[in-house]
Symmetry: none
Subunit: 192 residues, 4 copies
DNA sequence: AATGAATGAGGATTCATTCAT
DNA sequence: GATGAATGAATCCTCATTCAT
């Protein structure tokens, strides 16, 4: 009886291992061997499935962005008002599944990768555009400068992330979200 | 008697070359040889003066942070009011000498370095603390939550930087500064 | 399924190549590349199997000492009296497989290695202790100072070796053995 | 006023530094820089005086052998009988100035050097010949096999040295000398 | 005389990648 | 499908040696 359907399992294991290994090492120079080992297979097999290290990195990025997206969807699903939708997006970004050291470190490394790797750049731009349009759409009913405010909130989210990467005066996810939300309140003139 | 006094010249050349090479390559994995070549010397001499690649990277970071600091000093020197001082700090951050692709890329890479390298982490924390205290000091007379607002502005600065690194809808330095300043206006309730 | 079971073959080839290369070069500063080439593989593979040059040197030492030990065992196996056992040990030391320029040179180099490398020192001490206890055990029935005499014989063996290393008035193995044995005769007062 | 007569002082300092550095490092791969530093000058000057590392090593060897020779002369000068002369030679070899770890280690390293370096080989052969002829001359009146016995004693001296290099059950110089002398007693049938 | 400056050559080590089984 | 085997290319680093002053 041949093992069937192994491929998707293997690929997924490699994707998670890529993120985890980069996050743990804090660097893109993790070796294919390390990743493959963490995923429980030989580096040769990793190459077999992905063709090379670059594609593994891309797959890792896609995996990470997929998680972000899923997180946002989950949070937003329960929002009933535009305002609740924005809060949901912000809260999703700082959900514990995203806002933990290894994930932050991986995310930061992917930004670096995007400096030289067009595909990585493309993926991050997609993420940024999606974040912007989500925020702007939700802001439209309640803000007079939805795009400007969307940019400010997006920048703050990224900024809080990068500051978190230094672990200095690090906030928990909820406090980080609260700070961004409170800034948003001020921006759109909400009284709370 | 030998040719003398080359050390400071060579060291400075290597520091600038380190920043430039990392900025251009978008990666910390530039080779010592590349850096040395850009600085116009052999890699052996680079090792002679710095002892190793790590120390060159640290020196590069210190050089970059020194530029930031100098930039801030220059801008702040002409400020006569607290408010002008804050604007000067923000404008300094987005001055063209700082806010250009290579510098941003280098800065991003140093954040990555800080994920695993204690000295790099220490240096960046110093920079963050200094930025915070500069901002908070200037905000004290004009804001009711100077520390909170300083954090928000600092996060925005970093966030705008990292978004600039993707070159998507990239702003010029002045516009970037304007956006941060306008957010600050809203935060402290200034009418302009 | 991959080609399998190469490891012991490669390791053994590297061990012999290490001894041979050090013997031929007369120096520990042979390169991993030279050793690997002699063993018919790339230096990368040598590192793969041994982890580093140091471990290759240690493996080479163990290989050499193993040969010595095996040689002694072979010779001693046929000895029926204590006296014959001692002669066998001495003869084993000067057997042609041990007492040839390359082996002597390797052995000398390993003594040098032991000056700074604790593992090398440990290995040579084991060899010395074993030689001493072999000699002393065999001497006990026929000498009144078995330990003292064992030391003298051991020193002579090493001394003849090191003098052989200069190839000046070099003896053949049998003559060298004869000289040591005749000294032993005098020491224990044997009439022959 | 030019410094005159500096050359012989510098050369001597380098010679002693060479021996000391090799002895301390337990290896011939000490760098010219280390040696020069110990001798209180730049490596460039060391090259200036000796032409290259090899010649510095040779000079170091000559220096060491010169010490040995001087030691022997001193001891022998007071000997009034052939027997006393032999004892003096042996005692000289184990005098504390010779029989200390660093010197032994240097001496061992020079033996290694002689494996590949003809000049080093030539120097050590001279030493051996001189030792042999000294011993044989003194033995002639009191031994029936002066050359054979000279060889045995010479081998023992070298053997005790090399065993000392492992620092296992290391003897002091006087005990080492006593062991060799007592062996000699047995060899030539002296009653003491 | 003396040395800081400078480098070319070389060595240990690592790693992505390929291949044979 | 899966992996041990194998390597070429690259990287950091060291060092003897030379040179200009």
């Amino acid at each position: 009886m041949p093992k069937i359907g192994q491929e998707p399992i293997r690929r997924e294991a490699l994707i998670q291992a890529t993120i985890a290994e980069i996050g743990a090492a804090g660097s893109l120079s993790v070796t294919v061997g390390q990743i493959a080992k963490r995923a429980g297979m030989s580096s040769a097999l990793a190459h077999h499935y992905f063709g090379g290290k670059d594609q593994m990195l891309h797959a890792g990025m896609r995996g990470l962005l997929r998680s972000f997206t899923a997180q946002v969807k989950t949070h937003v699903a329960q929002a009933r008002t535009p305002r609740a939708r924005i809060d949901a997006i912000i809260n999703a970004s700082f959900d514990n599944t995203c806002f933990e050291p290894q994930i932050i470190s991986a995310w930061l490394n992917f930004y670096v990768l995007a400096q030289k790797d067009p595909e990585a750049q493309r993926l991050l731009r997609i993420y940024q555009r999606r974040l912007h349009s989500n925020l702007a759409a939700a802001l439209t009913p309640i803000s007079q400068q939805p795009h400007e405010h969307a940019e400010i909130i997006a920048a703050m989210i990224d900024g809080v992330y990068i500051r978190q990467a230094l672990k200095e005066g690090a906030l928990g996810g909820p406090q980080a979200a609260a700070r961004v939300i409170s800034t948003l309140d001020t921006l759109i003139g909400t009284d709370r």
